[in-house]
């Protein structure tokens, strides 16, 4: 399992979105890394990529709204990190379509997404939870 219980922030809406994000990424990685032919994997991978493009933006927006609601001091820096990832997903998606669905591009995206997501939720988002707890 990609998701670990210690990633929970204690904010039900954000935790539910994180779990959904991890579930989708895990499913994406399982297809990406399966022994099936690239042609067979493509529909599922393309579907997940489309989902990610929309869901990541929606989730980041909700997370930022929560940060604003608690006056989180790291809001601007956190928002910049979100924008960086949204830009990366959009750029990869554009290159991927232009390359006529190049496998290497998707493998590279999968590896970076795995590390980025775990760090973002396990480290950066936990700072929000720490602040919220201290604030009471």
């Amino acid at each position: 399992m990609l998701w670990k219980d210690n990633y929970e922030l204690g904010v039900p809406q954000i935790d539910a979105q994180h779990k959904e994000l991890f579930r989708r990424v895990e499913s994406f990685l399982q297809v990406l890394r399966s022994e099936d032919s690239w042609e067979k994997k493509l529909p599922k991978l393309n579907e997940t990529l489309e989902f990610m493009k929309k869901y990541v933006v929606e989730h980041f927006h909700d997370e930022e709204e929560y940060q604003k609601s608690i006056n989180y001091p790291g809001y601007e820096a956190h928002k910049q990190r979100h924008m960086g990832m949204v830009g990366y997903v959009q750029e990869v998606s554009r290159k991927y379509e232009q390359s006529n669905y190049d496998e290497n591009l998707m493998q590279e995206f999968g590896g970076r997404l795995l590390s980025w997501l775990i760090n973002h939720v396990a480290a950066e988002d936990q700072l929000i939870a720490d602040y919220a707890k201290k604030r009471g």
Binding site: L29, Q30, R33, Q107, G110, R112, L114, S115, W116, N119
Partner: protein
């Protein structure tokens, strides 16, 4: 400055192993302890008040262990996926150090990580040149810090 940078990179690496891989048993050793013939080398360029590069030397076995833990899947060879996941970890460690440095009014940015080919003939001189070997239960990592102050 050399000692501070060394410390910042060791601390950032320990933190990343703890938070991302749930590995808290991380110790530092002299770089002479790092011996490896088969490794994934990632370079992260540094620009700003300090300029140069950080080279992360991940043995293949360490790289695979890290990606196996993160993904919960079984990876047996370094491919584009593994190299990309490891590059992002080098990026995260470096980014964390740059944030720490900015608290000390040292402003630097990092460049996107790239796979690196070690060059034994690269004898460029750096004002700040230090190495460290970090040992964990899933293997070792060597960090080579090569930086100059901006003139």
């Amino acid at each position: 400055m050399v000692h501070k940078l060394y410390r910042d990179f060791v601390d950032a690496t320990q933190k990343v192993f703890n938070l991302m891989l749930n590995i808290s048993d991380v110790s530092e050793h002299p770089s002479e302890d790092f011996k490896c013939d088969d490794e994934v080398d990632i370079v992260v360029g540094v620009v700003g008040d300090l300029q140069g590069k950080i080279v992360y030397r991940f043995p293949v076995s360490t790289s695979l262990n890290m990606v196996n833990i993160m993904s919960g899947m079984e990876f047996n060879a370094v491919d584009v996926f593994v190299a990309s996941a490891i590059s992002e970890i080098a990026n995260i460690i470096s980014g964390n150090v740059m944030t720490t440095l900015s608290d000390s009014k040292i402003q630097c940015d990092i460049l996107p990580p790239e796979q690196y080919k070690l060059d034994a003939n690269d004898n460029k001189k750096y004002e700040i040149a230090t190495n460290c070997c970090i040992c964990t239960i899933i293997g070792k990592i060597c960090l080579e810090i090569r930086l100059n102050r901006a003139s």
